[in-house]
Symmetry: C2
Subunit: 409 residues, 2 copies
């Protein structure tokens, strides 16, 4: 059954529906109980009366992530005028630790400082959430190859990517996007890298796996290309730029299958290598265009060890990841995948990747308090334009490129 969102429920009276979200409130009345489920759209009330189902909620803290099935019934006393009955529940991400403060009351009690210390949780409060549907923001992150700044006497880092923060915000809104500059201290100079670029990021919760992200990205690419074609016709003509059409789906290969194809078609044996070289990407795109009629191509299942620590391993072979790259005319322009949503798995992975969990405590907080299966990706704006315009160097599609040698104008 397809999951629907809480704001769609009332148009399904009499039907059995599936919801998913956070355990916002639970009142156990003995023989029955009222659950309030919160998702990105709002909240909805569900009535439990089967002891076996009520049992499953025992010991769970608020903010646990649940999947819920039930029959929609009109009920004038319920806040939405309807409620879910005959409920069955499945626990997706249990929260076992008590929350540092209540977030399901009308007022948020803690002072500003305590709130800010626990922003990944506190932002889920309905009033905070409403406020940041009106505003928006960005933030900095530490990591590898970052620029260090002297931050009032302490070290801090310029945003390398909005990754951590967009995942935190999945816990608040389910779906988020960000467009902003990111900075990489690249120690080498290549035609595909600069030190500052614009990253088009999105992240979405309650996914089945990485293919949901790939399907969404396919829509996004189609939408961008259509708007370019319709709204920038004059510029496209001046630049003699050909914008591809995106079909219903973009062809997809596993890395190993792609390497096998290169071996068979081009004679080079790169099977088992952890990544594709630029020449390999060029061959694969040539194949996709000639044989599959697509200028875009997904490559999935890169080795888990070569992807970031938060990448979800494939259940069937955990040495392979549920991550993907999108290639376009011979160059990778997007990286994405499903992320780990279990606190324990993420915590243990950080250690395995040599990251001290204390250094990413703010990020891990979101996972301590219930995160749904989620994933997302980041499109490199200048790379996309470089490939669209057929330019040979990323510096040509970057407004004011920054690299080893250039910091002005």
């Amino acid at each position: 059954m397809e999951r629907i969102r809480t704001d769609q429920v009332t148009s399904h009276v009499g039907e059995r529906v599936k919801l998913a979200g956070w355990m916002h409130n639970w009142r156990d009345m003995g023989k029955f109980g009222f659950l309030v489920l919160r998702d990105g759209a709002g909240t909805f009330q569900a009535v439990f009366d089967k002891p076996a189902e009520m049992e499953k909620l025992q010991g769970l803290q608020y903010e646990s992530v649940l999947e819920l099935e039930g029959v929609v019934a009109e009920e004038p006393r319920a806040p939405a005028g309807a409620e879910l009955r005959d409920c069955e529940v499945r626990v997706i991400s249990p929260v076992l630790e008590p929350l540092p403060f209540e977030i399901n009351k009308k007022e948020l009690k803690p002072g500003l400082d305590i709130f800010l210390n626990h922003a990944p949780l506190g932002l889920r409060h309905l009033e905070k959430r409403a406020l940041f549907r009106i505003s928006a923001g960005s933030a900095t992150e530490s990591g590898a190859n970052v620029f260090q700044i002297d931050y009032c006497g302490r070290p801090a880092y310029v945003a390398q990517s909005p990754q951590f923060y967009k995942q935190i915000m999945v816990g608040v809104f389910e779906r988020v996007f960000e467009i902003g500059p990111v900075f990489r201290a690249e120690k080498h100079s290549t035609s595909r890298h600069t030190n500052e670029y614009v990253s088009l990021d999105f992240e979405m919760g309650f996914i089945k796996d990485h293919t949901d992200v790939m399907a969404m990205l396919t829509e996004v690419m189609r939408h961008m290309f259509d708007r370019l074609t319709n709204e920038r016709a004059r510029e496209l003509e001046r630049l003699k730029m050909h914008v591809p059409t995106v079909g219903d789906s973009i062809p997809s290969f596993r890395l190993l299958g792609a390497q096998q194809l290169i071996f068979e078609r081009y004679g080079e044996d790169c099977r088992g290598e952890p990544d594709l070289a630029p020449q390999h990407e060029a061959w694969l795109c040539e194949y996709a265009e000639q044989e599959l009629g697509s200028e875009l191509l997904f490559i999935t299942h890169y080795p888990t060890s070569k992807r970031p620590f938060y990448t979800m391993p494939d259940e069937e072979d955990p040495s392979l990841s549920k991550g993907f790259d999108l290639l376009f005319r011979g160059c990778e322009i997007v990286t994405g995948g499903q992320r780990i949503h279990s606190f324990q798995q993420l915590h243990d992975n950080a250690i395995k990747w040599g990251i001290n969990p204390e250094d990413i405590d703010g990020y891990l907080q979101a996972f301590r308090y219930g995160m749904p299966p989620h994933g997302g990706c980041a499109i490199g704006l200048e790379r996309l334009v470089m490939q669209l315009a057929g330019l040979g160097n990323l510096r040509e599609s970057t407004l004011f490129p920054r690299d080893l040698d250039r910091v002005s104008p």
Copy 2:
């Protein structure tokens, strides 16, 4: 006469019109000459045959900024199917130095490195301009209270504002906006300041003076407030947030007049002080709301010495600037004004303000090669939301606030 843009000319056949833009090309045939004028919309051909008018173009380099009046005539041989005849010209910003390379040919000759060294000029090439109508970007700037980063062994700075770059881009597109994070190393902790905020910036060329910017900002505020009211009704209700209506114009006071008003109405004599204290801003907004029915209020003509070196002084009294602040419910949320567009004036002002012109060479380049009268402003997103929601601290309207004490989560 109102200036029109080059893409509007052909609908005025037979009429006398006014254009303004850059001297893109000039062919002097002796008894007559062909001028190609470029503006943000495109290019247009004008025929000169009066010796006195042709004389004015003598010695001018391409990229000089011109205002042009003439009669629109159909002419099948002209690129647009029409041309301007019986022309009179006014030189707004003369360029006297030869350009480092030609930007009015189909191909841009210089290599990537030379191009990037002269990006403020080179980006005006029609093909480059088309490319960056498709992409977009951002950049860093140095200045006071900036965060210094170790940039591959050299010092560099995190963006304090996109000011220099949006001015450069006025030379390319006439009108630009940017939404992005900016960073200030605030050494003090106040409820109105954080170290990172989102700046909503715009900048526009070919203005009469700062009042054109104020009129545009009035439209922008009205548009934002209308969209909030229409598209975020649920969130506004949850937050009990009242969104003001913006009238045809927002009341405006000169600083000295505002100080006089405070003296007369509230008894405090701050006349002649270079800036308003928070209490003064609160009083002025109270007055504007009670007596003028507006929750928004412009203050103009702050002392030139207290504004940035690029602020245009008032011709009648150069000790006062053509800058403005916009106050909203007792707090400044926007700063803007007309900027200096003459290279010499800007260069000399930099020295007067203690800035070494060599340190801002990339920025000054744009002015060396012809800049029109222009101005713009920057809206502080979190301040705007703080005032809209009636919050007491900027940290409450900032998603992940950064200050002296807080760098995570």
